[in-house]
């Protein structure tokens, strides 16, 4: 098949990588202290993508449901774990809660979209399943991470108010209701923001990708509309799941706030500290 776009060869990759020199020079000149993070992040990005390219090529060629579901589950677990890694307070079972919420939300929404909306046949066609699930996961990750962080932070900061309500006879749910609502709102903000300016300020990656691959812009935007609604629904479900599970973990059946079950994230291994430092750089850069 002759693709409708210009093939990027190995030399062209090397040329693109040279662009990172701009970052390195800036970092050294302004003493941003980002040099190490930049190099590691670049190497990781290249290695991860090349590997994923190989794996996906293999799976696309297989065209069998099990490997596709398998890689979908691996992606889901990684998204669930990453979503917890960006929060500052943890409780026992938080990783499981996060993976379960991300799994339920992403598989449900992607399944509905593939079977009921896009009508993909056969349903396990990797060309559709993997990119759609991947995009949904990438966005759920932000939503669950923000909602979880907001919930655990608010619960610890507003302990006085929560226990004030509990002491007057509030149920755990009544006492936590405002915080649950705020957490869900926080989790939805990035999605709503990006929908607001989509196409005007930002040209989404999938749409531009389709256009680069030769799709007509009018066709590309249709896919983008479908995926944005998928992302909005999945993010809401994921944020709701992770918040409700966190509520159940931190409030006992006796309507007590159990902050003793909540610990600050610390003593991470070298890998987490390392990736954490990159994320801090990213945040600082934004």
């Amino acid at each position: 098949m002759n693709p409708g776009y210009i093939h990027v060869g190995a030399w062209q990759l090397v040329l693109a990588a040279l662009l990172i020199v701009i970052n390195l020079v800036l970092s050294a000149w302004l003493r941003l202290g980002l040099t190490r993070s930049l190099v590691v992040a670049s190497v990781r990005m290249v290695v991860q993508l090349l590997l994923v390219g190989l794996v996906l090529e293999y799976i696309f060629a297989l065209q069998r449901p099990l490997p596709i579901i398998g890689i979908g589950l691996v992606m889901t677990c990684l998204a669930g774990i990453a979503s917890v890694n960006r929060t500052r307070r943890r409780f026992r079972g938080v990783y499981l809660n996060s993976v379960l919420s991300v799994f339920a939300a992403s598989f449900f929404v992607t399944g509905v979209a593939m079977l009921g909306i896009v009508d993909v046949r056969p349903w396990y066609t990797a060309q559709y399943a993997i990119p759609l699930l991947g995009m949904v996961l990438g966005n759920i990750l932000n939503g669950t991470s923000l909602a979880l962080d907001r919930f655990t932070e608010s619960v610890s900061r507003e302990r006085g108010l929560i226990e004030g309500d509990l002491a007057l006879g509030a149920t755990g749910w009544e006492a936590a209701h405002a915080i649950i609502k705020a957490s869900l709102r926080t989790g939805m903000i990035p999605t709503i923001n990006s929908m607001m300016v989509m196409g005007i300020v930002s040209l989404p990656g999938m749409m531009t990708g389709q256009m680069l691959a030769g799709a007509a812009p009018a066709a590309a935007v249709r896919y983008q509309i479908v995926i944005m609604f998928m992302i909005a629904a999945a993010t809401a479900l994921g944020a709701l799941g992770v918040t409700v599970l966190a509520f159940r973990a931190l409030f006992s059946d006796d309507h007590q706030l159990r902050l003793d079950r909540l610990q600050r994230a610390s003593d991470d291994g070298w890998w987490k500290r390392f990736t954490g430092s990159i994320r801090r750089d990213e945040r600082a850069a934004r």
């Binding site: 006085g160 004030g164 002491a167 007057l168 006879g169 509030a170 149920t171 309507h255």
Partner: protein, 232 residues
């Protein structure tokens, strides 16, 4: 807790008629493997006022919070009206046994909104916020009516304590657990709080109250029984 006080506690319990409102037996508290207090006995009869005394950090607040069911009792049992706390739905327990924190957190908004807030809870939905009664109670504490329109964020520590106390009284609890309720108040307001609570204990049967405090003279004034917590 010292031997003498344990005995005082036991004696009070022995005296207690079968109808003691709140009974705590052999309560113990362990924080991070360290035992704070142990073998605490308490039998709260109608009309009684107990004081819990002891040095800072001994766990007075923890004892009140345990009695309110805001934290699990590490050891022992608490009964209200003869029924173990395990058999109670905790919101119903806490509507009867109300804990007022030393530094209460009030929701954003006006004082009046803060006072009305508990009546939105399921357990109090059958009742309505009585602004007149609240104004009356605040008046008894030496606060004028304009106070109701003030923002809770602008209250002093003492004023917040008064609001929290009036809010607790408004839901008509059976037992009040007050954590140093006059810690941030001037002598005049302190006397007014004491008088209000004495009147509250008398106006209806089957009410009781537990205080914590450091002021020896106040403890003598307000309490019928003293439970002194000390390091074991």
């Amino acid at each position: 807790m010292s031997r003498r006080d344990t005995i005082a506690g036991l004696a009070a319990m022995a005296k207690a008629p079968a109808g003691a409102l709140l009974v705590a037996r052999d309560l113990g508290c362990t924080i991070a493997g360290r035992s704070l207090w142990n073998g605490v006995q308490l039998a709260l009869n109608a009309g009684e006022s107990w004081a819990i005394t002891g040095p800072s950090g001994v766990g007075k607040t923890l004892l009140l919070r345990t009695l309110a069911g805001l934290r699990p009792a590490d050891l022992g049992e608490i009964r209200l009206d003869g029924r173990s706390s395990e058999d109670w739905w905790m919101p119903a327990w806490r509507a009867r046994v109300v804990y007022v924190a030393q530094r209460p957190a009030l929701p954003e908004g006006t004082v009046e909104q803060a006072l009305a807030a508990p009546f939105r809870l399921r357990i109090h939905r059958a009742h309505r916020f009585d602004a007149e009664a609240a104004r009356h109670a605040l008046g008894a504490l030496g606060v004028d009516a304009a106070f109701l329109d003030q923002a809770t964020t602008e209250l002093s520590g003492g004023e917040a304590q008064l609001v929290a106390l009036v809010r607790a009284l408004s839901i008509e609890p059976r037992i009040l657990l007050l954590d140093e309720p006059t810690a941030s108040l001037d002598p005049d307001r302190t006397r007014r709080v004491e008088a209000l609570l004495r009147a509250w204990l008398r106006t209806r049967e089957r009410r009781a109250c537990v205080w914590t405090g450091h002021d020896r003279a106040q403890v003598e004034r307000v309490s019928d029984h003293v439970l002194a917590l000390g390091r074991a």
